[in-house]
Symmetry: none
Subunit: 231 residues, 2 copies
């Protein structure tokens, strides 16, 4: 589980407690609000996993070794460029993926949730089915509900039968980079729109559900096209 820019120590503590309750023991934090994180860590009865939490400077680094990255969202007015799945369905996809690879589940800050840049690292988004009139949940409660869904009727992880490992975020990052470069040299990227095109490419690549081999193939193909255009 990855907490991104969480501000309130009580929420960090509550998230960690729910993780311990449901047996998810690996916590990563991205740019934690320092005071909050230290307070939560030193709180009486803080679960052990909080002391072992790993800190990262960016979402990209925090999810680099994960082959499925899922963002949580309350879906406000923001336009979403990602597939959005209800927890019941998304949860079962996460469960089956856990059979063959590792999954990062991202929660954003209390005020703003995940930024568009954070979201661009996600393969898809997860929504807890709250009612229209009051969609926004407390962070600790949202974490508890998501993790409960994952261990719910804890059947053993379904073995996918897929022998090739899904591509991890590091591999998808390299693919995104070479795609962007190939687009640049081909003249596809208009001046001034570099950043938005890179973000678009990142999302596009995340939606492809590539395995590691296919990611490598694409990286090789696009590298060749890029080189061809450079000559």
């Amino acid at each position: 589980m990855v907490l991104v820019r969480t501000r309130n120590p009580l929420n960090v503590g509550a998230a960690a407690r729910a993780m311990s309750n449901f047996g998810f023991l690996k916590l990563r934090v991205v740019e934690p609000f320092d005071v909050a994180f230290r307070e939560a860590r030193s709180a009486v009865g803080a679960p052990e996993l909080l002391a072992n939490a790993e800190e990262f400077g960016s979402v990209a680094e925090a999810v680099a070794d994960c082959s499925m990255v899922v963002g949580t969202t309350a879906v406000g007015s923001r336009v979403l460029a990602h597939p959005l799945k209800r927890l019941e369905r998304g949860g079962s996809e996460i469960r089956s993926h856990l059979g063959s690879g590792s999954v990062a589940l991202l929660f954003g800050s209390e005020k703003r949730g995940l930024s568009n840049d954070d979201l661009s690292h996600c393969h898809w988004l997860l929504r807890i089915p709250t009612r229209e009139e009051h969609i926004s949940m407390n962070l600790g409660q949202a974490v508890a509900v998501c993790l409960y869904e994952l261990i719910r009727s804890s059947e053993l992880p379904v073995s996918s039968g897929e022998l090739v490992a899904p591509a991890n975020s590091g591999e998808l990052g390299r693919l995104t980079q070479v795609l962007f470069e190939a687009l640049s040299v081909s003249g596809y990227v208009k001046a001034g729109s570099e950043e938005i095109t890179l973000e678009k490419a990142r999302r596009l690549v995340r939606r492809m559900s590539l395995n590691a081999e296919d990611a490598e193939t694409w990286t090789g193909m696009l590298g060749k096209m890029k080189a061809g255009n450079r000559q």
Copy 2:
């Protein structure tokens, strides 16, 4: 929902928030710790249902008009004289009962849970499937998880992200063709291996599980790279 002798105003507030999130708007409190209850009620952003909460002097009065009374428990050492059901199963019994009668779901105090006397008013008990090593949940989180189970897979409109149609074979065929052409002009395809590369590209594209929009984006990008290489 019935909160029995809750002491912490933050927990009362969190329970109320989860109720509002999941659409359970009737809260009853039994012997609330006065200060806590008043604080929770007057907190900024307290859901309306908290202002409308009914107060009772005993569990018996609070559940008098309910035809199913369910206690929640973390099951410590206490000997239980009641059937104990895991949330997944108990939740579906509650759901079906709600079709014909009203249900009271009881949560006890943070320290001691429900007393034996409280439990004696219950038809059966509900247990959230936490792990052995850490069974006791935070009250607000336990409420959120139970209520989520009750509304789980209730029919709600399909989210917008799921409405994008998957790419059809024609679209995938055009994408495959332009990918092959871009590879050809870039020098990726070795002489004599055209057929096998085209087949490989076709399979690769089929494994991407693209939607119609993304297929079009890829076709445009690859077309541009191809054109760039031709110049």
